[in-house]
Symmetry: C2
Subunit: 64 residues, 2 copies
DNA sequence: AAAGAATAGTCCCGATAGGGTATAAAACAG
DNA sequence: CTGTTTTATACCCTATCGGGACTATTCTTT
């Protein structure tokens, strides 16, 4: 599963809009959008701010 | 387990120096050093270039 | 002990990520 | 179909990430 898709899933499951998630995570709205579109150059700390909302964090996993 | 530690582990298991890993992954030596020291602001694409050497990639995991 | 290799710290610079804002498109509701 | 909400795209600007080079420190090995 791709990270971007997972984040969209988590967000929707939580019933949040991109704007709500951005605000709660303390990141910009544009960042959330680019992240959900799979931007590969995102910064880890920002991604982790988002993942933390769902009790998650970035880690190494075996490649699909 | 922290990501930085995991990367150090993988690198050592492969018998590589930071310089060798940096070169093979196509990233700068400084980046590898900061990454292994747990720099939180690293860019995902660069981290993935490193992880790809070991058949891994970044993904969301439940927070420790 | 000294010599060598590996890792850590520091400098400058170019490229770009992220924020903000505005606009456009798409999804959705009434 | 019309108005509303959500998402996508485009612009400028500032902060900073990453690279390279150099030095310093730590760790090995002899």
């Amino acid at each position: 599963m791709e990270l971007a898709k997972e984040i969209i899933e988590m967000r929707k499951s939580a019933g949040l809009t991109q704007a709500e998630m951005a605000e709660r995570a303390g990141v910009g709205l544009r960042f959330v959008r680019e992240l959900e579109q799979g931007k590969p150059t995102a910064r880890m700390d920002k991604v982790n701010q988002v993942l933390a909302m769902f009790g998650c964090e970035l880690g190494a996993r075996t490649k699909s």
